[in-house]
């Protein structure tokens, strides 16, 4: 269970933050402003929150949970998703909250969140900006997803991948925007999507699907060169 605390100087004057700890997950949530950059190197797909059933958008980093990303940060064009950057930080009303149990927080290592004048340090100021972008982005993404849902453009993609090692991977629970369905929408809906910028976002998701093949190719190469993987 996370341990949420509202961020304030009195409680957290000794608190320090480090870069996000732990391995990058195989599927990282992204927001609309990140779609284009993410789609250059990763499949951008939708998945469902297991607790609510709501769709969210993410970039596929690897093809199997628990495996490291198949591309390095450089190969991903330096993409560092806001959801990762903001890990451990939350917005609660007008204030910032933190999950005190997130391993990026410590009183020993990292940068202090507050200076002696009780003001946010540079690292916290950057985090405030990132959090603002992230939460604005979440809202925009939700609205985009609602639009796609109403037009019935979201469709499941069940993938079966075979590797030279003999391994077969079945990937379920991922969704994309259906190009055939997109072509079938009426003119008024198409114009609405175009004006709102959603048409481009929809195509970005749909056309990033072939990136799955590239990731599979990379994984196959890694399996062959390092069978212990």
């Amino acid at each position: 269970m996370p341990k949420f605390e509202l961020l304030n100087y009195q409680m957290h004057r000794h608190l320090r933050m480090q870069p996000v700890a732990g391995a990058t997950p195989h599927f990282v949530q992204i927001v609309t402003s990140e779609f284009s950059a993410a789609a250059l190197a990763s499949p951008v797909m939708l998945s469902k929150d297991p607790q609510t059933g709501d769709f969210f958008v993410g970039a596929v980093m690897s093809l199997k949970p628990g495996e490291a990303p198949l591309k390095s940060v450089d190969e991903r064009g330096g993409l560092n998703p806001l959801s990762r950057q903001c890990s451990g930080f939350y917005i609660s009303g007008e204030q910032i909250a933190i999950d005190r149990d997130n391993p990026r927080f410590s009183e020993v290592d990292g940068e202090l969140l507050f200076d002696d004048a009780q003001q946010p340090n540079e690292c916290l100021r950057q985090m405030q900006i990132a959090l603002g972008k992230y939460h604005g982005g979440l809202e925009a993404t939700r609205s985009f997803i609602d639009s796609m849902n109403k037009l019935k453009l979201i469709e499941p993609v069940d993938m079966s991948l075979s590797f030279d090692s003999g391994e077969k991977l079945t990937i379920k629970g991922l969704y994309t925007i259906g190009l055939d369905s997109l072509r079938d929408i009426d003119d008024a809906a198409a114009l609405r999507l175009f004006r709102s910028g959603y048409l481009q976002l929809a195509y970005t998701i749909a056309t990033s699907l072939p990136q799955v093949g590239i990731l599979a190719h990379l994984r196959n190469r890694q399996l062959v060169s390092n069978p212990q993987r």
Binding site: K48, Q51, G53, I154
Partner: protein
Amino acid sequence: MRPIKKIVIVGGGTAGWLTAAIIAAKHRSRIPAGFSVTLVESPNVPTIGVGEGTWPTLRGTLARIGVSETEFFRECDAAFKQGARFAKWTTGTADDAYFHPLMLPQNFSQLNLVPHWLASNDEKSFCDSVCAQNQVCEQGLAPKTIATAEFDAVINYAYHLNAGKFAAFLQKHCCEKLDVKHVLADVRRVELADDGDIRCLHTEQAGVIDGDLFVDCTGFKALLIGEALGVPFRDCSDVLFCDTALAVQVPYDNEASPIPCQTISTAQSAGWIWDIGLQSRRGIGHVYSSRHISDENAQKELIAYLNMDSRNLSFRKIPIRSGYRETFWKRNCVAVGLAAGFLEPLEASAIVLIELSAKLIAEQMPACREVMDFLASRFNATTSYRWGRIIDFLKLHYVLTKRTDTPFWRDNLLPETIPQRLQDLLLLWRYQSPWFHDEFDRVEEVFPAASYQYVLYGMDFRTEVEPGSLAGTAKLAERSLRENAAMIDKLRTHLPRHRDLINKIVDRGMQVV
């Protein structure tokens, strides 16, 4: 050629509206060319809610007619159903119970696990050895998660529903989305043509309504098929003795009370009690044979089952007559629902029979009057076969009993009350168990071989096994039993509580994909 374009359905209960929806959804694209579905409903006749249990077929039916499963849950007080628990049917003792799930046994299409289970003498029940669903229900878990799309399942499921609300839900969908014409009128007279077809209906409020094909959904009254066309009713109370139901609705203790995810059927001295959990209440009823117990004693047994203060409860007595029409489709009239027949709701066969009949009518819709009689005879053959098999299957529950404590149970074992086909099968099953590649693979079949397995071996039926014959499939059987155990563990951690999921569906909705 006399084209069939005007379909007139008489009666507005579950049967009428479900039939209207199935036909209208299938033929919607023909509406511009003059095809129409009209439902004539009396403003004065209350509908009987036939059963609140359904089959998994209803998922496909609802999806095909284009309703939202989320809206269905919100408007029909619906809950999930994963099977039926039969208590006190075999010996009548307190710990006597077995489960008839909706999932097939592990790897059912590849091997028959029955002989392997019998040979193992395992203390674990047949159902628990080969299928995860009983354990899922025992834990109070749902058959899917909030992230599972509408009508998709993690494990197979049907619904429990409020039949009155369901009819209203279907009516709204039919009228708003499927262009079904709704006429509120009492039918005063059915006018026949010289050739014996129904020409038109004379109504009190809406004048004359003519049609090419009439569907009789007027319930027990059977206004068209029975009264107008004189098709006799084939009584089967010599096989299935129950002729009365006493129904009651019971509130939950509180809003958070668990909702059982299975129908609970508990045998009594001269019948059995159904117990069905909806979102807001439990529907409970005693189905009994009035030849074997008085109404007063039947009510006493029901009250004892309820185990609560029953003074404020309202009991509704419903006379029932088991049997079906000798012909379901005569001339240009076809009967669906109670007008076609009725069987005690032991295996929730009422709504599935409506679905099957309506689907057959919709798919085989005669293009013209000239081909109707041929299609009608095919429909009659299929539907009669289905009713016969359901009667066999219901009777199976009674003939496997070891109870001899009352005349009701003893009478059920009299050979003259057991259909010959069932007697033949019972003899066969002493030497070979029912499975995939046999008797029950016909398209017309209603209950799959798996259902027979669950009931037979749930009720301690024994089939002889020659141990040497199992060697070829022993490894696969072992693996299947292992896979089932692993599946139970996985589902236990993965699936949400039944009421929690329903609350989420009502609050947030499910995704359509």
